[in-house]
Symmetry: C2
Subunit: 204 residues, 2 copies
């Protein structure tokens, strides 16, 4: 994407630099592939800035992101070993969150999702990371497991300079309203239309 | 994206495994951000499979992908040092291609683009990489610098199991027709609408 100029300069009392560096709330939604993939692609840029990255996966199975997880963990190791880039934490809901004292109850996904959000809200209030990926977070919001109003409030009031990327279909309207950048991935053509199943290295 | 089942099983004489492992031609197009970013996110999965990755950037300036380049090169180093993941090559048009004996003429972008495509076609014929990112390649195609029919022919006839991802606005119809997977990134909301310019770590 070529470097662009904004169409107008808002009368918001901010300098160009302040406005430029305003932390972003980004939503990747739509029915098509690429929502999470683009979020992890963004994490590469964040890593290169030396930012602290926190990934939180709101999915039951982690099978579908093993490649991204391995690569981003490897980049976190590069940081730990050489100082290049930034640190990476990767947490997934799976069978309870990694920070939880006991494994979550497999059956109560809603409670697990709420526990995940509570931890994220704590980290955001403490400005613990610079770049968050809340992967598939739109699902627990869409299903009403987590209160969207509370999420928007925590995100709006977040201190410092924390960028947050939220992925998943059916982004709630209140979240889209609060976001700075919303991308919808739409389908033009998919190999499953031609009877092809997912394959290693491409889908996971 | 949950693991799906294809809607129908085609009568193409292939086993499910053969069909599953068919190499893909993928196009990321549309006016919105995320096209290249999602391609580099896919490269993380390819890397984790130990695949050889070749990135070819068809842009004049490389400024906008420095984060992805640094992170993917770091992953290539991880592979070289530990054997984890796969090797990564990153080539950019900039001031001539890295393999060219002499620097390209800054003025003749069309000739530089054609030289890039000629090298890619050679590598594809030799099955040199497993995963190609032809970043912003839709532009030289759209502008008529490179013949789309020839590109489609080389891609259609490519030997072995080489996946190719092509990004950029205005994907030519013949390329969309030949592709297995086409994603269009569409804009819902962008911070430039609110007068915010691009920022370090987010845009590059």
């Amino acid at each position: 994407m070529p470097k662009g100029k904004p169409d107008f300069v808002p009368d918001d009392g901010l300098t160009t630099r302040q406005r430029r560096n305003r932390p972003l709330l980004i939503v990747h939604t739509g029915t098509m592939k690429g929502k999470s993939t683009a979020a992890f692609g963004m994490a590469l840029r964040a890593w290169n800035q030396g930012w602290s990255i926190g990934v939180f996966q709101f999915v039951k199975s982690a099978k579908w992101k093993v490649g991204e997880e391995a690569a981003l963990r490897a980049l976190g190791e590069v940081h730990a070993n050489t100082g290049q880039g930034g640190p990476v934490e990767w947490h997934k809901m799976g069978e309870g969150w990694s920070w939880a004292r006991k494994a979550g109850t497999e059956e109560d996904h809603a409670a697990n999702a709420r526990e995940g959000w509570a931890e994220i809200a704590r980290r955001i209030s403490a400005a613990q990371h610079d770049f968050y990926v809340l992967d598939e977070f739109n699902y627990p919001l869409h299903w009403g497991w987590i209160d969207v109003g509370e999420v928007v409030e925590v995100l709006r009031d977040r201190p410092g300079r924390q960028h947050v990327v939220i992925t998943g279909r059916n982004a709630p309207p209140e979240l889209v309203e609060a976001a700075d950048l919303v991308v919808e991935m739409t389908k033009v053509k998919h190999p499953m239309d031609a009877g092809q199943k997912g394959q290693r290295g491409i889908e996971w």
